[in-house]
Subunit: 186 residues, 2 copies
Amino acid sequence: MPRLYMALVHYPVVNRKGEVIASALTNLDLHDIARAAKTFGVQAYFVVTPLDDQRIFAGRIVAHWTTGPGAELVPDRRRALELVRVTGSIEEVIDAIAGIEGERPLVVATCARPQPAAIDCAALRATVAGGRPCLLVFGTAWGLAPEAIAGADRVLLPIAGAADYNHLAVRSAAAIVLDRLLGERN
Amino acid sequence: MPRLYMALVHYPVVNRKGEVIASALTNLDLHDIARAAKTFGVQAYFVVTPLDDQRIFAGRIVAHWTTGPGAELVPDRRRALELVRVTGSIEEVIDAIAGIEGERPLVVATCARPQPAAIDCAALRATVAGGRPCLLVFGTAWGLAPEAIAGADRVLLPIAGAADYNHLAVRSAAAIVLDRLLGERN
């Protein structure tokens, strides 16, 4: 199994004006990204927010589908949402992975804007295949704040589609990146 | 530009028990898939439902973001949702594309379960690159009904991830397939 982990960050991210904010959780971000993570064999999916009420809300959604009525109704959803770990900060995520893996993961930020010295998915695919623990970090709202990008070890190149439009939902971007890193080419 | 079109079908699809149903529209299906379609240069994104109230609902969402308050607030969202065409049946979609392209598109169904004689994304990528008009058909709920799959010219192989889990959200599956068909490998 790949030693790949994911984080969906709600703070620090930027809003439309570029201001650093804490964004609100979205139910479908939990579901869609957990299902994609399970599909591609990701080890754990960390949902990061420093806000207590948002962590309680996330915990309630996860409990509904993993131990509550949803678990029996849709077992496939249970298996996906069991990957979710609700966490207060990116640093806590890194510590949790280090605790599991016995070493600090390579932290790879994603960004829709090109960053200096970004790496491509093929390079990261090789790193993951080589067995190194990696943490893939996605931002909600208008993306990760500059401090979160600066704190990463690497930044992934943006997903390139048609020339002039680059506004994928984070749910879509996460699915595409997982496919590029772990999908079988059929 | 690729002559690729997409349809998201709400009827005929199956529910958890395999019964043929008309599913309800989901707001984020419109947004996420329209944004992915725009990112990868898809010509139009057809939302298919035979239910009048659902077509009115879809039209209202699209109008909000293309000509209403949302258009000015988030112009990037306007550009994506301008791709949406609300349509009553798959046949109407095919007729509409034939009207635009002057020829019937190759109709390619998608399905999470392996189908006989399914084609892979690499083959379809070559067909699209060769300039043939193609319609990619996605099902909501538990997927396209057998009659919709049987009516297609081709069926795409399921997306393969880790061995035993195959329950991507349609929004995630659509994003991955578009990337495989049209994305630049970077």
